[in-house]
């Protein structure tokens, strides 16, 4: 069964003595938008970092389009089509907004041209000469996602893109993800905001204490929302 674009099999990871991930297996199909939900400390960020190669798993495999990339360095993974939007947004403070956008290398012909980014986010155009960190939180998030799209990544890994955003900006992020999805981009999204997750995602994985405890279809999540919210502790 290798129709999955991104496939994680038996992945375990640790920080010293602390086990962060335990035998995690999941898959994301082409053009699918899948979220990972779970409490703080459940291992969601570690999972994305392992997929990107920023944290080395202690065992298990990561496959991209059927190719085992488990031991690849981050830059070859990026060149193979993975785009990463870290939870700290990863904006370069010393570079201007436009310089942040022109920084990523082109890895595929599907990359967004600068004009398209500016059409989608007029605010970034308006502020293109500003230092990256002079932007508001929401604008920084836009910049971070736009930068990942600039490479032409076919699989986006997003770490809590809505964290700390005003509702109107959350909608903008949702619109952006839907547009990327329409174009066939595959997305693995880490999210605490269950409402937001259900508006954009096809499926969900529930992560607790480093393990996948449930795989849920979107309707199931909507139906069991209050129960899941209790589980998430929000």
């Amino acid at each position: 069964m290798s129709s999955a674009v991104l496939e994680i099999e038996g992945l375990s990871a640790r920080y010293g003595e602390a086990q962060a991930l335990r035998d995690v297996s999941l898959h994301v199909g082409e053009g699918e938008l899948v979220t990972l939900v779970g409490r703080n400390g459940a291992g969601k960020t570690t999972l994305l970092r392992c997929v990107m190669g920023l944290h080395r798993q202690s065992s298990g495999h990561v496959r991209l389009n059927g190719t085992d990339i488990s031991v690849w360095p981050p830059y070859t993974r990026a060149r193979a089509g993975l785009g990463y939007v870290p939870d700290d947004r990863g904006i370069y403070a010393t570079l201007a907004v436009e310089e942040n956008l022109t920084l990523p290398p082109s890895v595929a012909s599907t990359r967004w041209p600068l004009t398209r980014v500016y059409d989608a986010f007029p605010v970034l155009k308006e502020r293109r000469a500003h230092a990256g960190t002079k932007l508001s939180g929401g604008e920084q998030q836009m910049l971070s996602i736009a930068r990942a799209l600039r490479t032409g990544a076919s699989v986006l890994l997003l770490d809590e893109p809505t964290e700390g955003l005003a509702p109107v900006l959350v909608q903008r992020v949702a619109a952006m993800l839907q547009e990327a999805k329409r174009e066939g981009t595959t997305v693995l999204l880490v999210e605490q905001n269950l409402r937001f997750a259900t508006t954009v995602a096809d499926r969900h994985y529930l992560l607790a204490q480093g393990q996948i405890v449930e795989a849920l279809a979107n309707q199931e999540v909507i139906a069991r929302e209050s129960e899941l919210l209790r589980h998430l502790g929000v």
Partner: protein, 327 residues
């Protein structure tokens, strides 16, 4: 109008460079420009990649020896000899950079220092080629159609090549390549996650930096007519780092300013060698305390505050479009 203002500093810089040998001893003027270029090559790594090289004397010295040997053994134009020096240093920087960039921080500094010491001892032992402790003297400088006997003449003849060196450093920093370097400096894993094989960029930056240091060293040997062991000594690396820090890390032009101060100070104190340590030390302490980020950066920001009104007052509403500017 605006464009004119942008170009103004360069016009002033060129005017100062042209007038320099008339207001000071031409040999000192040349030394200042060359040490400035040397320190710039250090700043390229320190300020833009975040790597402190404590072994750049190897490239400065190798450039000097290579240019001196070339000029002595073959009757070639000085510019060609200097470029040969730059090439030799860039070539040496390939293996050094390849190995040193695997380390970072203090370990990188130590590895570069060790490599530079290696070059120092090789030069010391290889007497047939380098003259050992005596060094190489009577290095000729020629250029078809020019007489370069006087120091001032050589200064003007070398100026285009030196300017080219500055221009290269500037272009490297203000290019997409330079932005990747800054990205690596600020956060290397993040640059990797964007898709950059960061070690390649670091090695290339190291090689470019070594080449620039070699160009400066080569012109130094040709301008002064000698290449000696102290060009390769670790204190030479130290002085280049010192100039960079005084001038301001990550500013490029600060290195020139730092070179003016350090070399002027050294020159002024040659008649009183016993006082030189105390005076230079005191001056450095004052500069470091008063100008935290170096002379150039502090001075530039002060000038900007003085010359430009606050950002809020600069929003241009005449065109109907709000423009935020980083002028």
């Amino acid at each position: 109008m605006r464009r004119g203002l942008v170009l103004l500093p360069y016009a002033v810089g060129i005017a100062v460079a042209l007038a320099l040998p008339r207001v000071m001893y031409p040999v000192l003027a040349l030394d200042i420009l060359l040490w400035g270029l040397f320190a710039m090559s250090v700043d390229l790594l320190l300020g833009y990649v975040g790597l402190l090289s404590f072994g750049h004397a190897a490239f400065w010295g190798l450039g000097a020896y290579a240019a001196a040997i070339a000029a002595k053994s073959a009757d070639i134009p000085f510019a060609l000899a200097a470029i040969l020096g730059a090439g030799a240093s860039a070539l040496l920087a390939v293996p050094f950079g390849y190995l040193a960039t695997r380390r970072r921080g203090i370990y990188f500094a130590m590895v570069t220092l060790a490599f530079a010491q290696l070059v120092f001892y090789v030069a010391n032992e290889w007497r047939d080629l380098t003259g050992g402790e005596n060094g190489l003297h009577g290095v000729p400088r020629t250029f078809p159609g020019l007489s370069l006997g006087r120091s001032a003449d050589f200064y003007y003849a070398a100026l285009p090549l030196i300017t080219l060196g500055y221009f290269l450093a500037y272009r490297i920093v203000h290019s997409p390549f330079g932005h990747v370097l800054v990205a690596i400096r600020d956060n290397e894993p993040r640059a990797q996650a964007l898709g950059y094989a960061t070690w390649r960029y670091k090695v290339l930056a190291f090689v470019l930096s070594g080449g620039l240091a070699g160009l400066a060293g080569g012109l130094f040997a040709l301008g002064n007519g000698f290449a000696s062991l102290d060009l390769l000594h670790w204190t030479t690396s130290g002085q280049a780092v010192l100039i960079t820090i005084l001038g301001g890390i990550g500013t490029l032009w600060g290195s020139l300013l730092g070179a003016v101060i350090v070399l002027e100070l050294r020159d002024a104190l040659t008649s009183a060698p016993e006082a030189s340590g105390v005076v230079t030390g005191a001056v450095f302490v004052v500069i470091v305390l008063a100008f935290r980020r170096g002379l150039w950066a502090t001075g530039r920001d002060a000038l900007r505050r003085f010359a430009a009104p606050p950002v809020s007052a600069r929003i241009d509403i005449s065109g109907g479009e709000v423009r935020h500017g980083r002028s």
